[in-house]
């Protein structure tokens, strides 16, 4: 007589499949929203006069992107691969170079007195610059700031910036601010 094979109990298979379903629902990243977040400056008030902000020339790094997607930094043409390093050197000013940004001592929570760089990156685009280039430049500048933040963070707290608590992250943000100011675009290369 043939041996009877006992049937597999399938009562729980429905539960298993539901478990899988919820697993996929929670973990699958369908078309997630990601990108580079930015804040626009508040709108100009109508009757406000043009405010002349006096910024010392040594505190400004002029980044210009033209309609052919070429970059110039403080008047010198530069490849995008160099931009991050230049921005980092500028913002950090490790050797207190008199041509690079001043530092101001600020009392920051959890960190004590810290010499905050006063550097501002001024970004000017041409109207004909492609969006891709614009994002690449923004990305490189963000990368420069992020690496500086990581550096400061591992000096002070022995951790990377991303792994810090929000309170400490706020302190680091004060120590290494992200100062990008966007100048009104120029229009050299006329419409395609």
């Amino acid at each position: 007589m043939a041996k009877k094979v006992p049937g597999i109990n399938t009562g729980s298979s429905a539960d298993i499949s539901f478990l899988l379903l919820t697993f996929f629902l929670l973990t699958s990243s369908i078309n997630t929203e990601q990108g580079i977040p930015r804040r626009l400056p508040p709108p100009k008030e109508k009757d406000a006069k043009e405010q002349k902000v006096d910024i010392n020339q040594r505190n400004v790094l002029n980044v210009l992107v033209n309609f052919q997607d070429q970059i110039s930094v403080n008047g010198e043409q530069m490849d995008i691969s160099m931009l991050k390093q230049t921005a980092m050197d500028f913002l950090e000013n490790a050797n207190n170079d008199p041509h690079k940004p001043e530092k101001k001592y600020v009392d920051i929570d959890n960190m004590g007195e810290y010499a905050v760089s006063q550097g501002v990156i001024s970004l000017t685009n041409d109207q004909g610059t492609t969006y891709n280039m614009y994002v690449q430049v923004q990305n490189e500048l963000q990368r420069a700031v992020n690496e500086l933040r990581d550096k400061v963070s591992s000096n002070y707290f022995g951790k990377k910036y991303d792994n810090l608590d929000t309170a400490l992250q706020k302190s680091i943000q004060k120590a290494v601010p992200m100062n990008i100011s966007e100048a009104p675009p120029i229009d050299y290369g006329k419409t395609e």
Partner: protein, 163 residues
């Protein structure tokens, strides 16, 4: 006993099909969820630029999308000189109504959120990578005039570059 066993025919057990329906339902649900995610049909070509320093937007419900790119069909409204369209919700907008349309769009998006969420509302600019900055700047200007200051440049993820 061993001799007997050799002569027995081995019976392969039938696969139990009872769970098949569950599995099929699982797929069904899965695809249902995927397909209902995108609420607006794209009318412009949109291929995001790639970047490394990206952040995820936390809440999808607090994001409003603005698409800018080359129109897919010829019948869409474009901005002069006719190569780029701006899409809000389900429609591409006309050049002469751009300012008003963007203002309305921001207004309705803000209104549909609760009071505390209004300030957290992010406008995600989904711009094709080949678009010239002039169109992006126009939209940015409108957003700024209407006090919608939190924006996001939608990008894809690029694998880590070596310095």
């Amino acid at each position: 006993m061993a001799r007997f066993r050799k002569e027995e025919k081995k019976v392969t057990p039938d696969l139990n099909m009872g769970s098949m329906s569950d599995i099929i339902f699982m797929f069904l649900f899965f695809f249902m969820v995927i397909t209902t995610m995108r609420e607006a049909t794209l009318k412009v070509k949109f291929q995001p630029p790639k970047a490394t320093e990206i952040q995820k937007l936390e809440k999808k419900s607090l994001v409003a999308n603005i698409y800018i790119g080359a129109p897919i069909s010829k019948n869409e409204n474009t901005l002069p000189p006719g190569k780029v369209s701006v899409q809000l919700n389900d429609q591409t907008i006309k050049a002469e109504e751009l300012a008003a349309d963007v203002r309305d769009f921001i207004g309705t998006e803000k209104e549909s959120r609760s009071e505390e969420d209004k300030n957290k509302l992010t406008f995600s600019l989904k711009v094709d990578k080949d678009v010239q900055m002039r169109y992006v700047n126009t939209i940015k200007n409108e957003l700024r005039q209407n006090n919608a200051l939190k924006i996001n440049y939608a990008t894809g993820k690029k694998s880590e570059m070596n310095n």
